[in-house]
Amino acid sequence: MKVYMKQIKMIAWFSENGTLTPFKFQIKDDNNEFITVKIGRISERSEEKLAGNRMMVYRCQSEINGVERQYELKYEVATCKWYLYKM
């Protein structure tokens, strides 16, 4: 997997107890067009506090352009931004 750390548009949902789950996201491809990816499976979720900065990390898997691919998403709590971290 390669580190991208690219900001993405995201739709996510919160459960009653505050658990945050990503649902689908949009990312610009090389031709500057948006690709929409629906999150297929979340295999692992964790929280990191590196440098005192809280981030939720999700390891996910989806079908992108007909291929099943694994990737990692990050949500930065302080800025409410979603990133495609690695793919």
Partner: protein
């Protein structure tokens, strides 16, 4: 007092490793801790000094506090990272949060150093050395940076201990370990010994902390007055100040701010404006601590790095921005010899409480001014420090408040 257990937690190359961890978290690929790198101020605004250095940079002889230009001459491939104070604040508070799990008596000594009073906690959490290792590993795992922890029976020895082994280490320095762990060190390594004291001690033939510890205390007192006795005590590991939890105001002797201006100041009006911006922050700090001051000092550093200062006493103690400003301008006018100015500083001292103030019939009545100061402080506390400022600063290229970096974290202090 002997059975106190004090830990001193010190983040290794704090600013540098904090910047690195933050960058790595945001997809950075270079670990600045492993290459020659520094955190340095902006050279364009002339704040270009080394604030922190990596361990590989240390090997090139780069020192904290030296100009970035000089550091680049020592190592041309050096990577210079700009400081990010908001990240440092975040790291510092996160470290504090973790430490709070181990004791309720915690003193924030500076942005990257914390004292922790572990006395009595060994009954709950166990052996201090084991716990220190646990703290160190937990900070490394959760926050991503390394710390050095010193353990001893007082704050001075704990601080000396954390300096002995870096990075990512736990070191003890109990009283019986002083002769073989601390005494062999250069006298400069002792807390509070700077270049001036070192030079004087060298002249007296005192080279190591051990030499100092074994010198007659009377002789030191003769040479350095009361300071000599403090030095002797420190060299012998004698120090018994409390770990002061947050919120308690430490004993303050004076409050001062200074700033390097991003251009050379050559006229009186601009210099007065800079003084005003400094007095604004000094005044706020003074009132925040509920102090009044009796002495004002203005210091000037020229573009050739020559420094001089001038000071005067007030008849009546004051905490009023305008009163201090007027005096600072008078002092400046008397002292300034007309050369281009690089750095200006204002310092107030001889502090006393502000609850009873002697009024004077011969002085200007500052009662109204004090009310306005209070109102302005309130507004700034609530809406940010730049919510109100003096119109004179409009289009002046100068910041209306100067001195200090962020909020209340001291970067360095000399009071244990």
């Amino acid at each position: 007092m002997n059975d106190r257990i004090i830990m001193h937690v010190d983040a290794n190359s704090a600013f540098l490793s904090w910047s690195t961890v933050y960058a790595l978290q945001h997809g950075g690929t270079v670990d600045y801790r492993e290459i020659p790198s520094i955190v340095g101020g902006n050279q364009a605004t002339r704040h270009g000094i080394v604030l922190a250095k990596s361990i590989p940079a240390k090997k090139y002889g780069i020192q904290t506090g030296e100009p970035v230009v000089q550091a680049l001459r020592k190592c041309p491939s050096l990577v210079v990272i700009p400081p990010e104070y908001h990240v440092y604040m975040q790291c510092s508070s996160a470290m504090l949060e973790i430490l709070k799990d181990y004791s309720d008596r915690i003193q924030v000594f500076s942005i990257d150093e914390v004292f922790l009073d572990y006395t009595g906690m060994e009954k709950v959490l166990g052996d201090p050395v084991k716990v220190a290792h646990h703290i160190k590993d937990r900070i490394k795992k959760e926050l991503g940076f390394t710390v050095s922890i010193g353990i001893s029976t007082n704050k001075l020895l704990a601080k000396m201990a954390s300096d002995l082994k870096k990075p990512d280490a736990v070191t003890t320095l109990y009283r019986e370990e002083i002769p073989f762990k601390m005494w062999k060190l250069n006298v400069r390594d002792l807390y509070m010994v700077g270049a001036a004291t070192e030079a004087k001690l060298m002249k007296m033939g005192i080279y190591t902390i051990g030499d100092l510890a074994n010198t007659e205390v009377e002789y030191l007192r003769y040479k350095f007055k009361s300071w000599g006795e403090v030095l002797w005590c420190y060299a012998n590991g004698i120090e018994n100040s409390e770990v002061k939890p947050e919120g308690e105001i430490p004993y303050v002797k004076g409050i001062g701010n200074s700033c390097t201006i991003h251009f050379d100041v050559e006229d009186r009006e601009t210099a007065h404006k800079v003084l005003l911006s400094l007095v604004e922050t000094v005044g706020m700090r003074l009132r925040h601590g509920n102090f009044c001051c009796r002495l004002v000092q203005v210091s000037i550093k020229t573009n050739e790095l020559k420094s001089y200062s001038h000071q005067r006493k007030f008849f009546v103690p004051t905490d009023c921005t305008n009163a201090i400003y007027e005096e600072a301008c008078r002092l400046f006018d008397e002292a300034w010899k007309g050369e281009p100015i690089r750095n200006l500083g204002v310092r107030v001292s001889e502090l006393c409480g502000n609850d009873f103030v002697q009024l004077s019939m011969l002085e200007k009545d500052y009662e109204k001014q004090r009310k306005i100061d209070k109102a302005i402080d309130g507004i700034r506390m609530k809406f940010g420090s730049l919510s109100v400022f003096r119109a004179g600063f409009l289009y002046s290229r100068l910041s209306p408040l100067q001195g200090g970096i962020v909020e209340d974290f001291p970067v360095m202090t000399s009071i244990l």
